[in-house]
């Protein structure tokens, strides 16, 4: 069978909403559906449409630890959207299509390793679930995720923060001016993975020009250095000038050219809530670009409303690109210093806020920096919310290639914590054996 240019998993979930007037509602991809169908995109010989499969709980628990369990925190729609990302990945890996775009909802990039509820409209991280599927099913190792949503992809960053094989690059509107308030340049990965998390906080008012400056002089060269086996685009569309939740000035052309240059193997839709003025055009632009077709005529009817980039923004971006280039150049040195400073264990404690459900989470991570393997992680989490009061858990995460002593220590740590009895739930997320155990 001939290989098609683009696989498209289109799943607008027309019967699912967080709540009836929430931005993540039934209508979100309605106008996008209308535009895609009216253009005739699904009838092009270079595009193949896929029906999503449903992800399994095993797929999800390869990434997430749900407290008390993941099934009680998500809906069927989440299984389909994660399944849609997996379907896209399978199409590419089976060489049925050259690249694929999972134009699915609900989104996922704010969902972290530990899940207590929905945050930033996300309950499970559909890209991360897809990445772990790629590793499990096809042995893919080096993965680059480029997050082009206007919000910092804090969930994806959290999940891969200790993973030197996953390069996570996120550009977004500066966290000082927008949810979730993270994604600063000093968040660069834990010591062993130092430099594989790269944040590019952009000033409000960044236009296509600024974005492509960052892409051409920072993101593309870094990708060339990292040499990933696969490139994934977390294709949020809320940098658009008409987005109601953010303040950037990117156009459909800006997004389409980005898709054209990035040549991601797999794109996954994230946010984007200008459902009538942006999404129909941005998605048509991305689909055409990913299918290798001319997107030059995809233009919003109200393009005149797109602001111009100020000199101050341009200067800020030039400066930021330079600073980040320098940081990338000395990443090995920074890694050496961080590892030496941390010693055997690296620890961090954080509070995490779930805007959708008002949950306040306190989390302590303890990461074993093993000279022989990628180590193991233990974490303690305590969450408080009006909706459920108090929930807590302790977990160990054993990496895919953990050495025997690390595996044993991780298991011991959970049993020890259980004996001490400070937490309500105890888990071992054993990626070495591909299972999540409740102890």
């Amino acid at each position: 069978m001939d290989v098609k240019k683009l696989g498209l998993v289109f799943f607008p979930a027309f019967d699912w909403a967080i709540s009836s007037t929430h931005p993540e509602r039934e209508e979100r991809l309605l106008y996008t559906r209308d535009q895609i169908i009216e253009e005739g995109l699904l009838d092009l010989p270079n595009i193949r449409e896929y029906k999503p499969t449903m992800a399994t709980y095993q797929d999800i628990e390869r990434v997430h630890i749900g407290v008390p369990d993941i099934a009680s925190l998500i809906t069927d729609a989440h299984l389909v959207s994660a399944g849609g990302a997996i379907t896209a990945a399978d199409g590419v890996m089976r060489r049925e299509v050259e690249r694929a775009f999972a134009l699915v909802r609900p989104p996922g990039h704010h969902a972290m390793r530990v899940v207590h509820g929905t945050r930033g409209f996300c309950a499970i991280n559909i890209e991360a679930i897809m990445v772990e599927h790629l590793r499990k099913a096809y042995g893919v190792r080096k993965v680059a995720i480029v997050d082009t949503d206007v919000h910092h992809g804090d969930g994806t960053q959290d999940i891969f923060y200790h993973d030197a094989d996953t390069l996570f690059i996120s550009f977004h509107q500066d966290g000082r001016t927008l949810y979730p308030g993270t994604g600063f340049t000093d968040e660069m990965g834990s010591p062993m993975a130092m430099g594989t998390t790269i944040n590019i906080p952009l000033p409000p008012g960044t236009t296509d020009e600024g974005l492509h400056e960052v892409l051409d002089h920072l993101i593309m060269p870094i990708l060339a250095d990292f040499k990933p086996d696969i490139i994934i685009n977390s294709a949020g569309q809320d940098n658009h000038y008409s987005d109601p939740l953010a303040n950037m000035a990117i156009t459909a052309q800006g997004y389409a050219r980005l898709a054209d240059k990035l040549k991601a193997d797999i794109g996954v839709l994230e946010g984007g809530y200008s459902i009538e003025s942006a999404l129909p055009y941005v998605n048509v632009g991305i689909i055409l670009a990913m299918a290798g077709l001319d997107y030059g005529k995809v233009i919003e009817p109200d393009l005149h409303k797109c602001p111009l980039q100020t000199r101050a923004v341009k200067n800020y971006i030039n400066h930021l690109v330079k600073e980040r280039q320098e940081m990338w150049a000395k990443r090995e040195k920074l890694k050496g210093e961080a590892v030496a400073k941390a010693g055997d264990f690296w620890t961090r404690s954080r509070s995490i806020y779930y805007d959708d459900s008002g949950i306040e989470e306190q989390q302590i991570e303890n990461l074993r920096l093993c000279p022989k393997c990628s180590g193991y992680l233990t974490l303690g989490t305590e969450a408080r919310a009006l909706s459920f009061g108090y929930k807590s858990a302790f977990a160990a995460v054993i990496s895919r290639e953990a050495c025997f002593p690390c595996r044993q220590s991780a298991i011991d740590a959970v049993h020890k914590a259980k004996r001490q009895g400070k937490y309500q739930q105890y888990y071992i997320q054993n990626k070495y054996e591909d299972k999540l155990e409740k102890i």
């Binding site: 007037t21 039934e26 995109l41 389909v80 001319d294």
Partner: protein, 552 residues
């Protein structure tokens, strides 16, 4: 008395149905150089057999449109499109279009209007054309742009016909509508010449019954209406046989039907007593159109299919070099194998045995060869059925509930029609472990289907309460809503009203209507519900006429 005529690649079949019973059938070779000759011959034979020409309706399923496409007897068309921004479809259309400015957005708002001076230039560009097609993006949401262009063309040039995109289909898909409009215009003259000849010939015979034309979706159109929508009459052969099955063997059981003809087997899937339709529409000359048709798959196996031996393997070729050797053909065919294996009983058995000997290797007996041929034929057909079921299961759906409660088609039986069904269908059924049915008169299922197919028409109504308008593309309507708080039930009522209007215009008795699709979305702006977008597609229900007077 209802008369149905189906012109196939090999035979022209006729059937007369009276009060639900088939009272006469004829089968004559198709006259390829002059389709009408064969049609009239069939009619004459039928009239002689039933002793009357007092038909209440004559329905034709012909290859006239298909032949025009194959033979390239297409008119030169002035194709004007109003694409607005978006994908560039200029190079994927059947011919190069003239591009006009103007722009309707996805909510049906006119962002820019077309320019009259551009239409003038277009008419000069197409000075040699008498037939035009006009198609605009999102014209189904607001036909005003298309209609202005049509009015300007009519003023500018001496045109004989203009096909309008939004009239051809009320569904979204600019590419498909444009292709439909183009092909409709391109076969317009050819079809009208044929319609004139049919009308004259029937008149000369004193036959005054109204003439209908079968459509690819199994409905019929009055010939008078079909003159404006001739492309609807394409690919009606398989639709005719599907309708025939509906008439002869109504069943609610999930089924596969096989129409095994001269060189192909047409496979259709059935659910809840109706055949499944294609998504989007059928392809014409490789171009996707908005023409609704049954979901059909053809595999290259039929009674006259050539058989040969390649590298010690029996192969069935998807071609016909003549009839079976048993009836005087020059090359071995699947039908010869059926005769030798005693699955069919016609022609000269010894000649069929000779046919098997021709393809035998390694001292195989004729019976062994015949069994191998049948085995191969069954394998190809079963593979086609399985592929179709896989494709059906992979059809995208857009709601969570449709993924969770996946309605897999659990086939229980095979229904076989067509000349070679009796020989092959039992073998296919036994291989798949299914029951089978061979309706009587299955040999002329297509003509029976044409005879009894109901006239149909459909409309798409879209209500946008925020914009305050509703549109019915097929009628070229965009009107203010009579009131604000419109519900789906109101929309259905309004759709019924407009369906009746369109049925009257097209000369179709209204009959029972059915909802093909409906959806309803809240429109929310800044966390406040501002209104609704409702759309529904309604059709006069296709199916089978039980009463001779019903569908006229």
């Amino acid at each position: 008395m209802l008369l149905g005529i189906d012109v196939g690649g090999t035979f022209t079949d006729g059937a007369v149905v009276a009060d639900g019973k088939v009272i006469s059938v004829v089968k004559i070779p198709t006259s390829h150089d002059n389709l009408l000759k064969g049609i009239l011959q069939a009619i004459d034979q039928v009239v002689e057999a039933v002793g009357s020409c007092n038909f209440s309706r004559i329905a034709l399923s012909t290859t006239i449109v298909t032949n025009a496409l194959i033979e390239g007897t297409l008119d030169e068309i002035g194709l004007c499109i109003i694409p607005g921004p978006g994908m560039d479809i200029k190079f994927i259309l059947p011919i190069e279009p003239y591009i006009l400015s103007g722009y309707i957005d996805h909510r049906g708002r006119e962002v820019a209007s077309p320019a009259q001076e551009e239409v003038q230039a277009a008419c000069q560009h197409f000075a040699a054309c008498k037939v035009f097609a006009v198609s605009g993006k999102f014209s189904v949401r607001n036909p005003s742009g298309e209609l202005s262009v049509v009015a300007w063309i009519e003023k500018q040039a001496s045109v004989e016909h203009i096909t309008v995109g939004s009239e051809v289909s009320g569904s979204l898909n600019f590419l498909r509508r444009t292709n439909s409009a183009y092909y409709n215009a391109a076969v317009w003259r050819h079809f009208n010449d044929f319609a004139n000849a049919v009308t004259a010939a029937l008149e000369a015979r004193g036959i005054h019954a109204p003439v209908y034309v079968l459509k690819a979706d199994g409905g019929t159109l009055p010939l008078l209406t079909a003159r404006n929508y001739p492309v609807e009459g394409i690919f009606t052969g398989p639709a005719a046989s599907v309708l025939g099955i509906m008439a002869m063997h109504p069943t609610k059981v999930p089924s596969v039907s096989l129409d095994i003809g001269g060189t192909t087997t047409d496979i259709a899937l059935w659910q809840d007593g109706v055949p499944l339709f294609t998504e989007g529409g059928v392809k014409v000359n490789g171009h996707p159109t908005a023409l609704r048709g049954f979901r059909l798959k053809s595999v290259g196996v039929g009674g006259d299919s050539l058989i040969c031996c390649e590298e010690g393997q029996i192969r069935i070729k998807p071609m016909r070099l003549g009839p079976a050797m048993a009836v005087g053909g020059l090359h071995p065919t699947v039908a010869d194998a059926m005769i030798v294996a005693e699955k069919s009983h016609f022609g000269n058995v010894n000649l069929a045995i000779d046919a098997m000997k021709r393809v035998a290797t390694h001292g195989q007996t004729p019976l062994e060869v015949a069994n191998l041929v049948l085995h191969e034929a069954v394998r190809v057909i079963c593979h086609g059925i399985k592929e179709m079921l896989v494709e059906q299961a992979a059809e995208p759906v857009y709601c969570v509930k449709d993924i969770v409660h996946d309605r897999k088609l659990d086939i229980k039986q095979i229904i076989g029609v067509g000349g070679c069904a009796a020989g092959l269908v039992p073998l296919v059924a036994s291989k798949l472990g299914l029951a089978y049915q061979l309706p009587k008169q299955g040999m002329v299922a297509n003509a029976i289907g044409a005879a009894v197919a109901r006239p149909t028409v459909d409309i798409t109504l879209r209500v946008d309460t925020v914009e305050g308008f509703y549109t019915v593309a097929e009628l070229g309507i965009k009107k203010k809503l009579p009131w604000q708080n419109f519900t789906l039930a109101d929309a259905k009522e309004l759709a019924e009203e407009h369906l009746a209007k369109l049925a009257t215009i097209r000369g179709i008795p209204l009959g029972e209507s059915e909802m093909l699709q409906s959806e309803e979305f809240n429109v929310i702006q800044g966390f406040t519900t501002k209104g609704k977008i409702i759309s529904c597609r309604l059709q006069v229900k296709p199916g089978v006429l039980f009463n001779d007077k019903e569908g006229v």
